[in-house]
């Protein structure tokens, strides 16, 4: 395969967001982007999403406490359905 199609370019773009694309894959993707405006725009949006997710610095309710809360909620529900 000399050139990537859009589907392959999109897949490599996703992998690149997680630093899992190989250097040659990234080169082929960029070559595809030179020729395909849609994929180029998709890559910009995809990269922006990665940036936003990192920037948000999301925190999560601790899993163990979630389990305890679920137990409590279920107990309350069985007492007062």
């Amino acid at each position: 395969m000399i050139l990537f199609n859009c589907k392959k370019a999109s897949h490599i773009c996703d992998k690149a967001q997680y630093a899992e694309a190989k250097p040659w894959e990234k080169r082929m993707m960029k070559l595809h982007h030179l020729m395909c405006k849609l994929c180029r725009e998709h890559a910009i949006r995809n990269t922006r999403l990665t940036h936003l997710v990192k920037q948000a610095n999301l925190t999560f309710f601790p899993t163990e406490k979630k389990k305890a809360l679920k137990k409590m909620v279920n107990e309350q529900l069985s007492k007062n359905p």
Binding site: R45, N46, V53, L58, F60, P62, L69, K70, Q76
Partner: protein
Amino acid sequence: MAIHSLQPELWIDRYADYLFNYTIVRVNDTVVAEDLISETFLAGLKSRKNFKGEASERTWLIAILKRKIIDYYGKKNSIKGQAEVRMQFTDGGLEGDWLEDRVADADNQNAEEALENKELGLAILNCMGGLSDRHAAIFRQKSIENQDTEAICNEYNITPSNLWVIIHRARKSLADCLQQNWF
């Protein structure tokens, strides 16, 4: 007319993370945030018969949480007031010698930025609510918790190809959802 209904058995999975991020930005203390959310769910359970179905489940829970946050600050300020009185006694009533004057200002240089990031976090969590539970969990593990592809594939018994399809769909859905406000 009631449009929405409550499903308390799904509250933790659906709203715990959202409420947690909502609370953290307002109280800036993980332990306090956890306690307030537990209290919110308990209060929600106790008063679920009062739910009229006019607002969404999440909006209703947030209204309860807001009340809890206000109560938390009420109690905190009442304790702070007692501390101020003690200061007056020990310092012989010097004018303007309040506890606040002695405490260095916190570094608020990036407070606005931090607040914006938290609002962004809520927007992302809101958009993740539009994904299926499985897709949202896989996206979270891969993109936010940075887990290995192999570990996630083993956990969900899927191939790497399946995982990348799920990730692609989740990313597309999130990008569409965030398009208007954040892109």
